[in-house]
Amino acid sequence: MHGHPGTLDRREAVKTLLEDRGDLLVVSGLGSSSYDVFAAGEHPGNFYLWGAMGGAVMVGLGLALAQPKRPVVVITGDGEMLMGIGSLLTAAAKQPGNLSIVVLDNGHFGETGMQMSHCGLGARLDAIAAGAGFASATKISDLTGVADFRPQLQWLDGGPRLALIRIAAVDVPRALPPRDGVFLKNRFREHLGFAVT
């Protein structure tokens, strides 16, 4: 079991993480993580997943391999990460220097009624990432830790890195990003300079 429940406000944590984001490209996982990223500030370099549960890290990996000169971060929840747990091994095997994975860990499935997740029941995603071969795996439990980690999101080498941010298991009001996938895709590609045909 977790030694102590997380206390960080998820919106504050993600807002702090995405301050001065510069060139950073962001993929957000299905559920509350997409709301957090949207609430931190709408940006054409955000790709919000509204489905594809378990796929956030792989979308980030494909993007990071295609754009090695841009830093890429995947921001997702512990539940979404658990469904795609194998993708940590796949990302580690590729060693993309420009890829960061941030897991917002409240130990629960927040979107579906706050059932306890495997993380709440004792699984340690930082240890799993390290075991998979991640270059670094950091556990963060306060805003100072988030701010200290933030510069690493800009690095183009030394990845993949994982940050496990312990957040409070409380409901926050939903903040809904656009959910038309074709719009999100075209906006994102246009941001990277690809013509929408």
Partner: protein, 183 residues
């Protein structure tokens, strides 16, 4: 030489090399796969090509999401898998439909022709339907000499017309799997 597509040391009838060359010509730069014996030569060719990003997956649906991310970043990807992996992909295929993302997968068939392992039959029989219920267009590759034409047409439909395309490579064409050592 990094780019095997220009190599002359290829014998006639080498359909995996035809597929490799066709994928290169279509601008594919990321190859991801769950290994299959039927794909082993194409996987070797991909690994030998320094211009290709080659990613081994733990499960097939990872390749759907990887292909989506690649396209967002301006790359074209292909997913190589066996028919048994198609069933793992069903929900993840909704990502492609929702975002109208190009997608190309080459699927080596099991469970449809001279199959030795009965456990391969159910998914082999359901492979086409599992793709089609999620909106994927299915092509069949039955003859080695058609490899270039079929993969070329599939690539064009995927990457030029934003379609999701699967090419099923027939088990008859792949040949029987040897289950016992020949003396």
């Amino acid at each position: 030489m990094d780019d095997l597509a220009t190599s002359n040391s290829v014998t006639a009838g080498d359909w995996p090399h035809d597929i490799y060359r066709t994928l290169k010509a279509a601008g594919v730069s990321q190859v991801c796969y769950v290994p299959d014996a039927g794909h082993s030569r194409l996987i070797q060719l991909a690994h030998a090509d320094g211009a290709l990003q080659t990613t081994v997956l733990t499960t097939e649906e990872e390749g759907i999401a990887l292909s989506a991310g690649a396209w967002l970043g301006g790359d074209r990807a292909v997913l190589l898998m066996q028919s048994s992996g198609v069933g793992n992909c069903v929900n993840m295929l909704s990502l492609l439909a929702s975002c109208r993302l190009p997608f190309l997968t080459l699927v080596t068939m099991r469970g449809e022709w001279a199959e030795f392992n009965p456990w391969q039959i159910p998914m082999g029989k359901a492979t086409r339907q599992a793709l089609e219920i999620m909106g994927v267009t299915v092509f069949r590759l039955e003859q080695p000499e058609d490899a270039e034409e079929v993969v070329s047409a599939a690539s064009a439909l995927a990457f030029e017309s934003d379609q999701q395309i699967a090419v099923l490579i027939s088990q008859r064409m792949l040949g029987r799997k040897k289950w016992t050592e020949e003396k």
